[in-house]
Every structure is written in structure tokens, then in C-alpha cells.
């Protein structure tokens, strides 16, 4: 075992048709997923959809009822956790309380028979990597939550694992530290080039760090693709509505287009081809016009209900004549001009959207 970090060490990981039930709860229901070498895949989904279970099966902490786990071309389903060479960071703080940060990081190396001096040096390097070079002699109770998770990351990386597994490592941290640390995790992951599975239920976090995002529901992957595609080309309503805010607007569908608030919008594959249906429209796709044409009605006539500022942009919700509440995302300058109760006309931008019956 050498202590220098290989810059590209990723292996392919493949989960094949995994099933796992707890009593009558089907935690994994035929889940399949392949990670390319060096790729960071985020599993995203609502609570209880089986994300943690999938990760634990990959780590060997949980046995699948059926299915295979293949790493670098080898079926490892029957190999115990301790021999799988996977670095894990847990949601709960998991540093060994009786060891300093350095001893924690060196723990895995000691088990691998790396001698004392080398071990200390390597542990120091990994702590430097996560920005904690100055805290090597601290115990867990002397560190903040964010620092503890950094040490946990260094500890997981120090054994030069084949795969890095992160189960909501940031969920116990406050918003600012969260953003900071997630960017850092991504930087280090790219730097080390390790195949990584990252579990979260925070969609912003998922979109920010992932090469690909897998959206899970009820023990299966609903869609897996790059963040951009997941966001702009969802294949079903669950994915569209789980990722980001979505309006459901009724539209007249014919063929591959639908007419929504008077505008013709192209429809994504998977949408129905005729009849009336709901078209899923993102807030930033909604336009708000303050100029009311006199004497004629428009399907987008609406009344402003609330306005809110979110920094550079803001949100406006307005109620259509039929009672539907529509959320629009606008530049702050425009939000400032609008007032509650004001009459406006809503239209939608003609970019592809998903429709459901």
C-alpha cells in the first residue's frame, strides 16, 4: 500500500436488479444502476424510497434478497463489508470518540499494516486535503459538525477505497457549511477520481454536485440522467415534480404540442397525445405581463396573490380565473413593481414541457 493518491482510480460499479424487503415493506424493488469509473452519481428521492438501503447493500452492511453487486467486473455480493474496500461517510457523526482526528484517519491504514510513521504522514496529508491540517490532534467532541464530517471524509479516502459512499453526509449541518462542504466534496472527488455514490433528499444539493442524478421512488430508479436533462426533460410527473417547483396548468393537447395559457408548447416524450391534460410548467417558464389589453379576455388573466424576494430573483404567485394558483419566477426588479391584488396576464415560454393526463 502506497500513500500517494492515484489521480484516476475509478472502477465501474453496477447494482443489478436488487431486491430487499423488510417484512411487507419493499425497500428495494428491482433496482438497477451502473456507475462509470470516476463518476459521481447522486441518488435522490423522498424519505423511505430506499436510497440508504441501496447504499448499504453496496457497502455490504445489508444483504439483498436477490440481485447482484458487481465492482470492477467482479461479483462481490458474498464478500463481507470489511473486505469490500469502500469508504463510507455516514449521516450520523461517526468519528471514534477515543481517537484524535489523525488517529481516526490512520485507523484504516493501521488495519492494512501501514507502519507508524507512514501512517501518520498519510493521515496528515488527507486531513490537509479536507482543509483540517491544523486540527490533527483534536478529538471529535472538540470539533464542529462540519469539521467532523470532513475528518470522516478524510478517513474514508485514506484507505484509497474502490468506491466512495456518502449517505446524506451534510444533512446535520447548517445551510452555509452545507454548500461549502458539498462543493469541496465534489472538488476532492474530481481530484481523486473515485467512483462515488452520494445519497441525499436535497434536490439542490443533488443538482449541484452530480455527474448524473438518479431519482428514486418506492425502491426503483424512476429516471437517471445528467442534472440538466433531469431538470428540463423529466420523463414522468414524479420526477418533474420532485425536482424543483412545478405548476400544473391545464392544456389542450394535440400530437406533440399543447396549448397552455394561449401559447403552443412542445411536449416531451411520455406525454399523452390528445385530449386535455395537465402540463407541468416550471416557475421560470412563466411570464408575467402587467399590460392588460383593454376589452378582450386572455386565458392568462390573473390576480397577484403573493410576492417574495429571494435575492437576485423573486417569486410571484397569481390566481387564474378558474382558481388555479400559478408560481412564476422573475427578476427582482419586476417583482418589486408588482403589488398584491394587481391584475396581470400570464403566459408561458414555449420550451418543452411534460404533460400528464
Amino acid at each position: 500500500m502506497t500513500t500517494e493518491r492515484p489521480s484516476t482510480g475509478g472502477v465501474e460499479v453496477s447494482l443489478q436488479d436488487l431486491r430487499r424487503s423488510y417484512g411487507d415493506i419493499q425497500a428495494l424493488n428491482g433496482m438497477s444502476l451502473t456507475l462509470s469509473p470516476g463518476e459521481l452519481v447522486v441518488l435522490l428521492g423522498p424519505s423511505g424510497c430506499g436510497k440508504t438501503t441501496a447504499l448499504r447493500v453496496l457497502a455490504g452492511l445489508e444483504d439483498a434478497d436477490s440481485g447482484r453487486v458487481v465492482v470492477a467486473g467482479k461479483d462481490i455480493s458474498s464478500i463481507p463489508t470489511s473486505k469490500r474496500d469502500m469508504g463510507m461517510v455516514f449521516q450520523a457523526y461517526s468519528l471514534f470518540p477515543h481517537m484524535t482526528a489523525r488517529e481516526n484517519v490512520a485507523f484504516g491504514l493501521r488495519l492494512r499494516g501501514v507502519d507508524g510513521a507512514k501512517r501518520r504522514k498519510a493521515a496528515g496529508e488527507y486531513l490537509d486535503l479536507v482543509g483540517l491540517g491544523a486540527q490533527v490532534d483534536r478529538y471529535a467532541h472538540q470539533m464542529s459538525g462540519g469539521q467532523q464530517q470532513r475528518v470522516a471524509l478524510a478517513r474514508a479516502l485514506a484507505i484509497q477505497p474502490k468506491v466512495l459512499l456518502l449517505d446524506e453526509p451534510l444533512s446535520a449541518l447548517d445551510a452555509k457549511v452545507r454548500v461549502q462542504l458539498r462543493d469541496e466534496i465534489r472538488r476532492i472527488q474530481l481530484d481523486v477520481g473515485i467512483t462515488t455514490l452520494f445519497v441525499t433528499h436535497d434536490q439542490e444539493e443533488a443538482l449541484a454536485v452530480a455527474d448524473r442524478v438518479g431519482v428514486m421512488r418506492a425502491g426503483q430508479i424512476e429516471q437517471i440522467d445528467t442534472p440538466e436533462v433531469i431538470y428540463s426533460h423529466p420523463t414522468n410527473a414524479f420526477v418533474a415534480e420532485f425536482i424543483g417547483l412545478t405548476n400544473r396548468l391545464s392544456g389542450q393537447i394535440s400530437g406533440a404540442t399543447a396549448v397552455v395559457l394561449g401559447t403552443e408548447v412542445p411536449l416531451l416524450p411520455g406525454s399523452p397525445t390528445s385530449g386535455t391534460g395537465s402540463v407541468l410548467v416550471r416557475p421560470e417558464q412563466v411570464r408575467v405581463s402587467e399590460e392588460i389589453p383593454v376589452g378582450q379576455t386572455h386565458p392568462g388573466d390573473a390576480t397577484v396573490v403573493t410576492t417574495s424576494f429571494l435575492g437576485a430573483h423573486g417569486r410571484v404567485s397569481a390566481r387564474l380565473a378558474d382558481g388555479t394558483l400559478v408560481v412564476a419566477q422573475l427578476p427582482s426588479a419586476q417583482v418589486e413593481r408588482l403589488s398584491v391584488g394587481q391584475q396581470v396576464v400570464l403566459t408561458v415560454e414555449s420550451i418543452p414541457a411534460l404533460a400528464v393526463a
Binding site: A59, L61, P80, T81, S82, K83, R84, D85, M86, G87, M88, F90, A92, Y93, S94, F96, P97, H98, T100, F107, G108, L111, R112, D137, Y139, Q142, A152, R155, A156, I159, L165
Partner: protein
């Protein structure tokens, strides 16, 4: 410390009643007095019997102070008569029993309790019930059940006193369980062991390197109480016809009251010294960690 903030208290208060500083001082005096009363009562509770023991071991019927019992103790320690041999054998047996019982207790309880927490948490109640059972059954009744078992042990192993360690392990189970249970409750056994496993640790490694160091004080207190119990155990040994320190003292002191009392004091002293050694051992380890902390 508290008087420092007194300067900020407005002087106005003094015109109304006794100044707060005085009130507080009075309260502090009361607390101190109360504390000392507690110490004296508790101390008396422990020390008076010991003192009486010492008094009776050094007074003859006429009320004169005599040291013959203690001289006898001194000579027993060195002499080569049957009584002296009895005592030394008893003491040696008891010390071995302490060591063996502690080992059996720890080897039995720590891995089992860890395993139950990790894999079969619904078994915890059952385990607790089984462990606490020994507490609810009087020793004399336990012996009735143990007698036939020890007849078998005499056949299979030997009649050596050392095999009492099995019975003693059962005896200390309730106390050791309670202490270890509290220790394990204070750490996240599941996450810590999973982290260690993912880093490549075997199950033995998890127990020895992760669990035990983190429940050290619970282990020490389990050992404390086990040690005290085993060292003073009389019923099992006597009724099962084995020789330990307690039975030896009983036998040697049977026809000399003063000697019996002197020996009792000596046995308390032995227990005290052992506990002291154990606590020094556990403290020195903690102290080393505390320095870097």
C-alpha cells in the same frame, strides 16, 4: 466566584433588608453545613462498624487493650501451620476467582450485548431479564440448583475451587450487565461499528478497538463491583464445599473471636487495595488521554 458579581448589585437593596451579599453568604454557609452533615453521617455509617471491629479485635473481656489477635494475624502470614496454609490457599483461590470471573464476565457480556444491539435489538429485553434473574433468586436457592451441576463438574473437571468461577460469573451478571448497558447506551454502537467495518476491521477488532475503549469506565465499574462481590463471597463456596478467602477466614476465626474480627478487617483491607489498584489503572489510562485533549 459568585461574590464577583455582587459588586454590580445596587446598594439600594441594603436599605430595605439584609444586603444580598449577606443573604448569599448565609445560604452558602447553610449548604456547607448541610454538606458536612451528609459527609459525617455517611462516613459514620461506614466507619463506625469498622472502628467497632477494630476495637473488639483489640479488647479482651476485661476491657483491656490486647494485641494478641493482631500478633496472631502477623504470625499467620508467615507461619507454616495448617491455619496459615488455609488462609493463603483461600486468598490465592479468591484472587484467581476474581480474575477468571472478570474474564468470563467480559468475554460473555461485551460481545453479546454489542451483537444484540446491532443485529437483534428485539432480544434486549430478554437478555436483560435473563441477566437480572440472578438478582431475584436468593443465593441459598441458587446453590440448591448449582449443587448437582458442581457434582458433575467435579467428575468432568476436578473439585478445584477455581471452577466456582462459573457460578460467580452468574452471580455478578446482573450488576455487570447494568453497568455495561449504561456504557453502551452512551455511544452510537451501530454507526461506530459500521464505520470500523467499512474501514476493514473484523468483528473482534470492532469489539477490542472501538467498543471497549469507548465504554472503558463502564467496564471498570463492572469490574469493580464484580471484584467486590467475588472477594466477599461465602455462601456458594461454603455450601459447595470449596475453599476461598471468606471460608478460610471463617474457619480460622471459628474459635477465636478477636482473631476472626482482625481477619475480617484484613480481608476488607485486601478488597480495598485491589479496588484502589483497579481504579489507579483505569485513571492512569484516562489521564494520558486527557493530557492531549
Amino acid at each position: 466566584m459568585t461574590t464577583v458579581s455582587d459588586s454590580s448589585v445596587p446598594v439600594v437593596a441594603s436599605s430595605v433588608g439584609p444586603p444580598p451579599r449577606k443573604l448569599r453568604a448565609a445560604r452558602r454557609r447553610r449548604t456547607t453545613v448541610f454538606r458536612w452533615i451528609t459527609v459525617v453521617i455517611v462516613g459514620g455509617f461506614f466507619l463506625i462498624p469498622l472502628y467497632s471491629l477494630f476495637e473488639s479485635s483489640t479488647k479482651n473481656l476485661g476491657g483491656r487493650r490486647v494485641w494478641d489477635a493482631w500478633q496472631a494475624v502477623g504470625s499467620l502470614a508467615t507461619a507454616d501451620d495448617p491455619n496459615s496454609k488455609l488462609l493463603w490457599v483461600g486468598l490465592r483461590n479468591s484472587l484467581f476467582l476474581v480474575a477468571l470471573t472478570l474474564i468470563i464476565m467480559l468475554v460473555l457480556l461485551v460481545p453479546t450485548m454489542t451483537w444484540i444491539r446491532l443485529r437483534v435489538p428485539w432480544m434486549r429485553r430478554t437478555m436483560e431479564f435473563v441477566c437480572l434473574l440472578a438478582l431475584t433468586i436468593p443465593a441459598i436457592v441458587l446453590v440448591v440448583g448449582l449443587a448437582p451441576i458442581y457434582r458433575q463438574i467435579s467428575h468432568i473437571l476436578s473439585t478445584d475451587t477455581i471452577w466456582l468461577c462459573f457460578a460467580y460469573a452468574v452471580l455478578v451478571l446482573p450488576f455487570a450487565y447494568r453497568s455495561l448497558d449504561a456504557g453502551l447506551d452512551a455511544i452510537d454502537v451501530k454507526t461506530l461499528s459500521e464505520a470500523a467495518r467499512s474501514l476493514g476491521s473484523s468483528w473482534t477488532g470492532v469489539i477490542l478497538r472501538i467498543v471497549i475503549p469507548n465504554i472503558r469506565s463502564a467496564v471498570v465499574s463492572a469490574c469493580f463491583i464484580s471484584l467486590a462481590l467475588v472477594l466477599g463471597e461465602f455462601t456458594f463456596a461454603s455450601l459447595l464445599n470449596r475453599q476461598n478467602f471468606a471460608t478460610a477466614i471463617f474457619q480460622v476465626g471459628q474459635d477465636d473471636g478477636r482473631l476472626a474480627m482482625a481477619l475480617s478487617l484484613v480481608s476488607l483491607l485486601v478488597a480495598f487495595v485491589l479496588l484502589l489498584v483497579l481504579s489507579l489503572f483505569s485513571h492512569s489510562r484516562k489521564g494520558r488521554k486527557g493530557k492531549t485533549a
